[in-house]
């Protein structure tokens, strides 16, 4: 099936990652030199911080891309949607990457939690210490290491277990007729949506918002979910198009692509809406403890995050908005692909501007280390998705909505 494409992509990714790795040592030497020169100006900064921040950034990004596959399936079951059945094996394949991401996230937290998360410093909670911070101490009930680890582990376990259930029902449905497995899947989907309603917000706080421990935004859960969701939709679209071009999934027609295009268009605008709502409230209220988040991105650290800030807005709003506006664009493979790649790259920058200023600050940048890390994670993801796609029929059998999907026709 998609093995050829998968192997080629993995090989390419590994080759580039290896050469990226070569540059990394160069980068490392450079960073170490800079460290020497700067002396003790930044007492906490080590060159490894940038490496860990990169691992963290990619792990969060691909966790989102994976879990959205389950999210997509769940709301399609809940809505009893028929159109998406023809390519439902594609979103179904995404969450298989979750266990690896879970291990990476927990490993980074244990290995480098102190470098990435200011709140893990025990002196902040000690009234006798000069570093005592009453604001962070007030958040201790939620932000403490044991509870954090339990929460993070719980997210991955819940998401993965529910996905395994829906996946196994889906595979068993291929072997037997009837609607039993459909209703079972629907039930699991509903449970997942209830779980995800809470965990999408709390995981966004844990993974991203707690980096700037003082700062908080009540929009942040929605904002991260919107970002993850539109990334996942773009990845589903790209995978469907890749399979269709290689001669698989011929049942997917222009009408399915049109709907996927609408989805990307609509949720790019939804992301912009949430982004702007968060930005405008903070801008309008003008409270120093809130504006600091945008100050750091926009003008802090010598302005190195200003470009990613605008890349983020351009690639995630202006670009898909203009490119996907017309009906013809949403029905044309190449235009969909360009828009989807814009969204996939754009939302990397979305997480970049939210994670990097708080973790590496003025030591951030965009070099071979960033590229190499993206390629390592992305090749793993592509391998994971394609190996899942190989394990089952690309078009499910016996799904009660299959006929409807095969005749899906919108004009």
């Amino acid at each position: 099936m998609g093995l050829g494409a998968g192997v080629v992509l993995v090989a390419l990714g590994c080759f580039l990652a290896a050469s990226g790795g070569g540059h990394e040592t160069h980068e490392v030497a450079h960073a170490a030199g800079a460290e020497h020169a700067e002396g003790a100006a930044h007492h906490a900064y080590k060159w490894t911080n940038r490496l860990w921040a990169n691992v963290w950034l990619n792990a969060i990004y691909f966790t989102g891309a994976s879990v959205i596959g389950m999210f997509f399936m769940s709301y399609n079951y809940l809505a009893q949607a028929g159109w998406s059945v023809a390519f439902k094996r594609v979103p179904e394949a995404l969450p298989a990457y979750l266990p690896i991401m879970g291990i990476v996230v927990l490993a980074v937290f244990f290995l480098a939690g102190h470098d990435l998360f200011h709140w893990t410093n025990p002196a902040l909670y000690d009234t006798a210490s000069p570093e005592y911070d009453p604001i962070i101490a007030g958040k201790r009930g939620f932000l403490n290491t044991p509870f954090y680890v339990i929460r993070v582990a719980l997210y991955f376990v819940l998401w993965y277990v529910l996905w395994r259930m829906i996946r196994s029902y889906s595979l068993q449905e291929d072997l037997s007729a009837g609607t039993d497995y459909y209703y079972k899947s629907l039930r699991v989907g509903v449970i997942f949506l209830v779980v995800f309603a809470v965990t999408s917000s709390t995981s966004a706080w844990d993974f991203v918002m707690s980096i700037d421990t003082h700062w908080f935004s009540t929009m942040f859960g929605w904002y991260t979910l919107a970002s993850w969701h539109v990334t996942g939709l773009a990845i589903i679209t790209l995978t469907v198009l890749a399979l269709k071009e290689r001669g698989y999934l011929q049942v997917v027609t222009e009408s399915h692509l049109h709907d996927l295009g609408k989805f990307m268009f609509a949720f790019s605008i939804f992301w912009t809406y949430v982004w702007f709502a968060q930005f405008m409230l903070i801008y309008y209220a003008n409270l120093p403890e809130e504006t600091i988040h945008y100050r750091e991105i926009f003008s802090g650290f010598g302005g190195i995050y200003k470009a990613p800030f605008f890349i983020n807005l351009t690639l995630n709003f202006v670009f898909p908005f203009l490119v996907l506006m017309t009906t013809a664009a949403k029905r044309t493979g190449i235009i969909l692909k360009v828009a989807a790649w814009g969204i996939v790259i754009g939302h990397y920058f979305d997480f970049y501007v939210n994670i990097m200023p708080g973790t590496v600050g003025s030591h951030g940048g965009f070099g071979p280390m960033e590229f190499g890390m993206i390629l390592i994670f992305a090749s793993g993801f592509v391998w994971s998705v394609y190996s899942q796609l190989e394990k089952a029929n690309l078009v499910p059998k016996h799904h009660p909505m299959l006929e409807e999907s095969l005749h899906h026709d919108i004009n």
């Binding site: 405008m280 801008y283 209220a285 003008n286 026709d409």
Partner: protein
Amino acid sequence: MSDVHSNSKFLVGIYDDDDVVLQAVKDIRKAGVKIHEVYSPFPIHGLDVALGHPRTKLGIAAFLFGLTGTLTAISLTFYTEGYDWPMIVGGKDSYSPIIYIPIFFELTVLFSALGMVATFLLSNGLGPTVKPLMYDLRTTDNKFAMTIDMSKNDIGEGDIESILKRSGAAEVNIKQF
């Protein structure tokens, strides 16, 4: 449609089934008869393609209405807050466009929504005092009507009637406005 001028004569073919009317549209267009419009109690998939109607221009209308709304909002906020009576709110410049984006957005939506309602009424010839053109009242219940504008067709009335009958029309009526 609003392009109906007075004293025009229509042949109205009445059908009982949506699949029959869809096939009839294809057959009749192939026979060279120009169809004016098909009326159905519910949307029929693929009918607009079969009828060969040109792409709707409603999108352009919506865009222009929306643009009017945006420009109204910009001028309104700029005139009141930036020019006529500048005020400093929350430490911002007296005219800071970012805080007015919700107003730009809302007036854009409002103008395009109301404009589209007006467009709908106009293009369908509907309104409080207007008597709507009705080819057959049963198209609001369970029948499908295909209307043929005689002034736009060179084929004789009798020929068209027999083509309609052959395509599955249960009856063919003449309607004059």
